[in-house]
């Protein structure tokens, strides 16, 4: 996942900043981007930590223009039924962005941690 507008990172140039703002993209001076990591939200991970991560989640790339990548953002909403045939989903103010994946903060691995039987090995199917 790329950095997003909520990622308070200084832009490299005024032009980059303008383009990034237009396209709802935030950038950093070293072009450090997180690619295809929907579990890492910009708000949750400081740039310094991203830059120091050794996993494949972080890659340095050299580009001349703003980096544009597809991204998925997972959010937690509060769900309530309205009558019998409608649903209301209100974004959770406290946990409005969460990690879906990733062994440290991902909600899926976290759920799984409660379920894995002792000594379970591969192959393993879960639901």
């Amino acid at each position: 996942m790329v950095t997003t507008a909520s990622f308070a990172v200084p832009h490299t140039t005024a032009a980059d900043a303008a383009i990034a703002q237009t396209r709802n993209i935030a950038m950093d001076p070293e072009r450090v981007v997180v690619t295809a990591v929907p579990h890492i939200t910009a708000a949750a991970v400081p740039l310094a930590r991203l830059a120091s991560m050794s996993s494949k989640a972080v890659s340095k790339r050299v580009t001349l223009g703003p980096t544009i990548e597809t991204a998925m953002v997972y959010s937690l909403y509060r769900r309530t039924n309205i009558g019998k045939n409608s649903t209301r989903c209100e974004r959770d103010k406290k946990e409005n962005k969460i990690s879906l994946l990733g062994c440290n903060n991902g909600i899926i691995p976290w759920f799984l941690g409660f379920k894995v039987p002792p000594n379970q090995n591969e192959p393993y199917r879960w639901h």
Binding site: S86, Q120, W126
Partner: protein, 152 residues
């Protein structure tokens, strides 16, 4: 049938004090003006050889809809306006060994060729999950629905 019938994500969230009453929503295209919000209802996984392919069942709250009248912070949708079931495959680097999570549990780096590869055993498992949860998807009726959508 309720659109959340049989979901596993909502009860799992409900069981956790911090997430009680919560639901997971993906903003699938956060960089685009049009709104694409999908609710995650089910997650199935198959861990083998240090990899875990994942199958998500989603409901489309907004599927590439124009943003003018949509409040992304407070979404209200009639059941009739929710599209689904929609299925999505992902895969992660990570698995389970000796009863514990093993590996980073992260998706691969972005690449045009990093789609999930599913061997027959895994694919069959996921098909079985789809068939059990939403039998109409893999039935003749599902085909009919698809044909009707295509014709429209």
């Amino acid at each position: 049938m309720s659109r959340t019938a049989g979901t596993d994500v909502l009860p799992e969230l409900n069981a956790q004090p911090d997430y009680r009453g919560g639901t997971l929503i993906i903003n699938l295209k956060p960089k685009q003006n049009n709104v694409s919000l999908y609710e995650v209802l089910d997650v199935w996984r198959w861990s083998q050889n240090d990899w875990t392919p994942i199958l998500l069942r989603l409901n489309g709250l907004f599927t590439d809809d124009r943003p003018e009248t949509i409040n992304r912070e407070d979404v209200v949708r009639a059941d009739a306006d929710i599209s689904g079931p929609i299925y999505e495959f992902l895969y992660l680097t990570g698995s389970v060994k000796n009863g514990k999570l093993h590996g980073p549990w992260t998706p691969p780096n972005a690449s045009p060729t990093n789609a999930a590869l599913l061997w027959p055993e895994t694919l069959n498992y996921f098909f079985q999950c789809i068939r059990e949860r939403t039998p109409e998807v893999l039935s003749a009726r599902g085909e009919k629905n698809t044909a009707a959508i295509a014709a429209a």
